[in-house]
Each structure stands twice: as structure tokens, then as C-alpha cells.
Amino acid sequence: MAERLSNREGIKGMANPTRYGIERVAYWLQRLTGLGLLAYLIGHIFETSTIVHGKVAWDKMLEFTQTPQGHIILTLVIGMCVFHTANGIRVMLGHGGIGVGKPGQPEYPYKAASLNYKQRLCIWVSIGLAALAMMYGASVLFGD
């Protein structure tokens, strides 16, 4: 009731990457990849813990994870990791006020200086690097 009265967009609105340009897509991807990487970290710590149970347990774990599905997940993790890192560095520098433009007299049609081509380029480069890393990762994992 309170939510309806406050007319908040809610999770649906927060997680909707459309409507506000590539910067909002990057925000959405950063969150999604962050959550994905945390899930992977927990899983990775759990899977590597099998080593304390000896060679048999370790080999059994490898048998379970070194499958085509496991490789697809690992390829996605590589992509998420590269995007989260590259875009994270962009966002971090932006948070310090670096690369967000300089204040000045706004002129019609009022293009925001903070949403400049450098920021957009960095986002596309992050996506491109993630795609390249995924391709390389897939070639290593599925190769031979």
C-alpha cells in the first residue's frame, strides 16, 4: 500500500536498462556482473575446498565442473570479470570527478557534459574487451 502510494518504480524500474542511454545499461550490467561474480566466488571457494579431501575428491570435483556446461559458465565468468573490472575503473574514476567534464554555461539542446563520448567509448571498450576475453577463454577451455 505504502509502495503504491509513493509511486516508486521499484525493482522493475531499477533493473530496467532501457530508456536512459548506454550509461544506464552499463549501470545495470555492473550490478548483474557483480552479483554473478559474487555467486561464482562462493562457488569457487566451495569447489576448491575439495582439495583438502585428497586426490579422489578433487578429481571427482573436476569431473563435475570440467564439462561443456561448466566451461560455458566459466566463459561467462571471464566476460563478467573483464566487464566488471573495466567498467568499474571507469566508474571509480568518474566517482572521483575524473572524466566527467567541466562545469560551464549550458547551451541548448543541453547535452550533459558528464555523459560525454569518452564515457560512452569506455563502456563500449569494456563490452568489447569482455567479448574478446570470452572468445579467448572459450578457445582455451574448449580447445583440444
Binding site: 503504491r4 502510494l5 509513493s6 509511486n7 516508486r8 518504480e9 521499484g10 525493482i11 524500474g13 531499477m14 530508456r19 536512459y20 542511454g21 550509461e23 544506464r24 552499463a26 549501470y27 555492473q30 566508474v91 568518474g94 566517482h95 572521483g96 570527478g97 575524473i98 566527467v100 567534464g101 562545469p103 560551464g104 554555461q105 549550458p106 547551451e107 541548448y108 543541453y110 547535452k111 550533459a112 557534459a113 558528464s114 555523459l115 564515457q119
Partner: protein
């Protein structure tokens, strides 16, 4: 007696004028609700004649004047100066007086109240939280010698000093930035891009001495750190205030990048 007659327009100009003058009819869908009375949102559809220069606000006022007087809408200046007519137009927060029907490239236009603001009725929303967060930022020059005395001298600022905050002082408090912000979509305690940008407007003013006070206020679990530079606020700002830039520059002080 001399008679001044206007020069006859050329054929080409007459034809352009006729095209501009052509009436087109659009369907205007207006979200109707009255949460206080427990009424759920419904959409009323109206056929509205428009010209190339008709704004969405004019289309809504046409409905109010001719088709349904009960549509609730807040407006005043009709020239993007007062910040009253912010609403969601075809899903995007915009000023109704500043959005031409023709630029929406659609024969069906849906207008809804801005998100992240409580609805009063139909398109009118409550600005209490925005104004309260704005006030929390101490939107005034803070300094001990601000009282005017016979010995007072004017505060001298160079054009460069003014340029550091001028664009942020153009905020008309329309609330579009808060409606577009992804954090505001779920975080009811977040200060919001409007308030944070105004905090920077005063911090960047070299007459002001309240930087430390304001930085303390925004350095909160629902303060400046809940901005993730998604840029949606700057995307919708109708005055070129660029709240995203102001917030990042303000955060620069907290991170030690700015002095």
C-alpha cells in the same frame, strides 16, 4: 497617408505554412488515479487536434478545456522555467510544456505521473520529499560575515568562479532527475540527484564556507554513495544542470580528488 503593406509571401513559404498549419489528431492517454480515495490507476483516452508546435501540456489543457475538466495537472509558466509540469511522457520523465507532440513521433501519447513521487491525483505529484531533501543541503551561502553592516563589501567573483557553479544554479526543481534515478526507484531514504547537485552548487561557490557541513550531511548510508553514476538524471534534465556531473565532483571532495 502612407500605407505599409506586408510583402507578399512566396509560393514556397505559403506551402510550408500550410503544412505547419495542418491539423493532426492524436490519442492522448492520461493516467487517472486518486490514491487517497483508494482509486486504482485507469487510463482515459482523448482525441486531441494538434499542430506541429503543440506541446504535450497544450494537449492536456485542450482536454481540460473541452473534454474533461477534472484532469488534475500542475503547471504554471509554460516555458520550462517553473518546473511544475514534470510528468512521464511515453514512459520518460519530461516537462510537458517543453515536449512537442511532433517530436514524440507517435499518434498515441501516454502521460502518467512522475515515478518516485507520491501521487496526489492524476498527473499531480507530491514534492514534499524533494523540497525537504533540498532544504537539508542548506541551499544558501554559509559564512560568518554574511550580515550586511556599514563596513560590508561586496563578494567579488571572477567569471571563472561563477562558471564553477552557475549551471547547477539553473535547477528549477522539476524533479525529473529524481524520477529517472535508478536508486530513487527503490531507496526511499536516498537524498536524490536534485539535492546532491544543489549541495555541490553551494560547495563550488567560493563565497560559501559550509563545505564541511554539507559533506558531513551527504556522507551517509543513503547519501552520495548511493549514486552509481548511471547518468539517467542528466539524461532527462531539461535545463542542462547535469546533476550526474555535480554529484561526481562533490564526491571528489570526499575521495580527496578535489580540495
Amino acid at each position: 497617408m502612407a500605407v505599409v503593406t506586408a510583402p507578399k509571401p512566396s509560393e514556397e513559404l505559403i506551402s510550408i505554412d500550410k503544412t505547419l498549419d495542418q491539423l493532426n489528431t492524436i490519442t492522448l492517454r492520461i493516467a487517472r488515479s486518486n490514491p487517497a480515495e483508494g482509486h486504482e490507476t485507469t487510463y482515459s483516452e482523448f482525441k486531441v487536434p494538434v499542430k506541429k508546435w503543440t506541446t504535450v501540456l497544450e494537449a492536456i489543457l485542450y482536454v481540460k478545456q473541452n473534454l474533461d475538466h477534472a484532469v488534475a495537472v500542475r503547471y504554471s509558466c509554460r516555458q520550462a522555467s517553473c518546473g511544475s509540469c514534470g510528468m512521464k511522457i511515453n514512459g520518460k520523465p519530461s516537462l510537458a510544456c517543453y515536449t512537442k507532440v511532433s517530436e514524440l513521433h507517435s499518434n498515441v501519447i501516454t502521460v502518467e505521473p512522475m515515478n518516485n513521487f507520491p501521487i496526489i491525483r492524476d498527473l499531480a505529484v507530491d514534492f514534499k520529499q524533494l523540497i525537504s531533501n533540498h532544504k537539508k543541503m542548506k541551499p544558501f551561502i554559509i559564512r560568518e560575515d554574511s550580515e550586511v553592516t556599514p563596513e560590508s563589501k561586496e563578494f567579488i567573483q571572477t567569471p571563472q568562479d561563477v562558471e564553477k557553479y552557475l549551471q547547477f544554479s539553473y535547477c528549477i526543481k522539476c524533479g525529473l532527475c529524481n524520477a529517472a534515478c535508478p536508486t530513487m526507484a527503490t531507496d526511499t531514504s536516498f537524498i536524490g540527484p536534485q539535492g546532491l547537485a544543489q549541495a555541490y552548487r553551494y560547495v563550488a561557490d567560493n563565497r560559501d564556507k559550509g563545505k564541511e557541513d554539507r559533506l558531513k550531511i551527504v556522507d551517509d548510508s543513503h547519501g552520495i554513495w548511493r549514486c552509481h553514476f548511471a547518468g539517467s538524471c542528466s539524461h532527462v534534465c531539461p535545463k542542462g544542470v547535469d546533476p550526474a556531473m555535480a554529484i561526481q565532483l562533490l564526491r571528489g571532495y570526499l575521495l580527496g580528488f578535489q580540495k
